[in-house]
Symmetry: C2
Subunit: 224 residues, 2 copies
């Protein structure tokens, strides 16, 4: 099995995370690196979605991934093995989210030469990561069908800060009481501008649309 | 639709939560009230599992429920409508967990006359709730099949503090890559004594075993 670099993240000392996140965003803009912050509940399929998305984009733009988890390095290894792109594991040591300074600790260990896009897979958690700006250009989240359509009602902040909501595991829709139209309605209650993209990461269905959204994001941002 | 009492929980002022949790546990022991802290990821089926469990136990012991959520009151209403037992909603106002003092704020609003068991449905989150002792006699958690068998590897603390792990949504096992034996192995890596109970809350399959565990817990504890 492949080895990946594991970074033990230290607690931030900065008092003003919003300010620090703004600073990081500007530093990354100068370097031409687009940072995407990807969030979700545990087990919604972030890693599988990333593998499918990266394999559609890796010949068009240069990508690196940072996998944040409290423990284990299974996700970073999966990404590296399935896509061949640089992937590092961030261990938060029990911390429930990443802020801008913690994200910077990770970025310092990513081989940045020529990289266009860094994807941060945040800790699996619908609550705390929503409260901390990581310095990313955009926030994306994955909601999976088995979690239920009512999640935007229960976790309002998460849905209000995400520009795109990927609905994963559409293949199991027949086995769950999940109303996609109702879910879209709840998402748009929280963020009227959020794009909603239904996919099945296991089969790859719908992933083209998310990959296209992301590629367009990176290209438009580079022109600015 | 039924109305339920909604309590807006305030941030705790106590510095030492462990001490405060011990105090609350003793207070509840004097009153003869067993407190169960139920945790899980968002959408794992806590509320449905509770409804099934309560309907099996409500003629044997007197039960009340506190539903904690960042926002919304859908769960407390569901419990009240489906079981008829007292159910109140705790709003954490963005906070990602409950500690002992926050739990006490909820308990102060539960009609406690003759109650044997209070079940606290904690905020849907596998990270933060694991770090704060609520004053409960036991911690229980639900892991659902779609979340994947690897969760004990990624969220070690949660699995190490739970005495029982309910594996929910067993009906959809054929549609997911979920190895129950592997999952049990991972759970027991974190907590060798944890009981693992596979169920399907939708159909009620397996819930008898969880209800029996809980009834036995309450009865044995009352004798101590």
């Amino acid at each position: 099995m492949d080895q990946v670099k594991i970074i033990e993240i230290k607690k931030s000392i900065f008092a003003n995370n919003d300010q620090d996140a703004e600073k990081l965003r500007k530093e990354l803009k100068v370097k031409g690196v687009y940072l995407l912050n990807l969030m979700s509940s545990p087990g919604s399929g972030k890693t599988t979605t990333l593998i499918q998305t990266i394999n559609r984009l890796k010949d068009k733009i240069k990508i690196a991934v940072m996998e944040a988890d409290i423990d284990s390095d299974v996700d970073a290894i999966k990404i590296k093995e399935a896509t061949g792109i640089p992937s590092i594991q961030l261990h938060t040591g029990g911390m429930c989210h990443l802020d801008a300074e913690m994200t910077r600790q990770g970025l310092d260990n990513v081989p940045m030469e020529g990289v266009d896009l860094v994807i941060l897979e945040n800790v699996g958690n619908l609550v705390c990561p929503a409260e901390f700006d990581t310095g990313a250009v955009r926030n994306a989240m994955i909601l999976s069908v088995p979690e239920g359509e009512d999640k935007p009602l229960k976790y309002p902040l998460m849905f209000s800060i995400c520009d795109v909501v990927v609905i994963n595991k559409m293949d199991v829709l027949p086995y769950f009481d999940f109303n996609l139209e109702k879910c879209k309605e709840y998402i748009h209650m929280r963020n009227p501008k959020a794009q909603v993209i239904p996919i099945c990461a296991k089969t790859g269905e719908g992933v083209d649309a998310f990959a296209a959204w992301l590629l367009n994001q990176v290209q438009e941002w580079k022109k600015q």
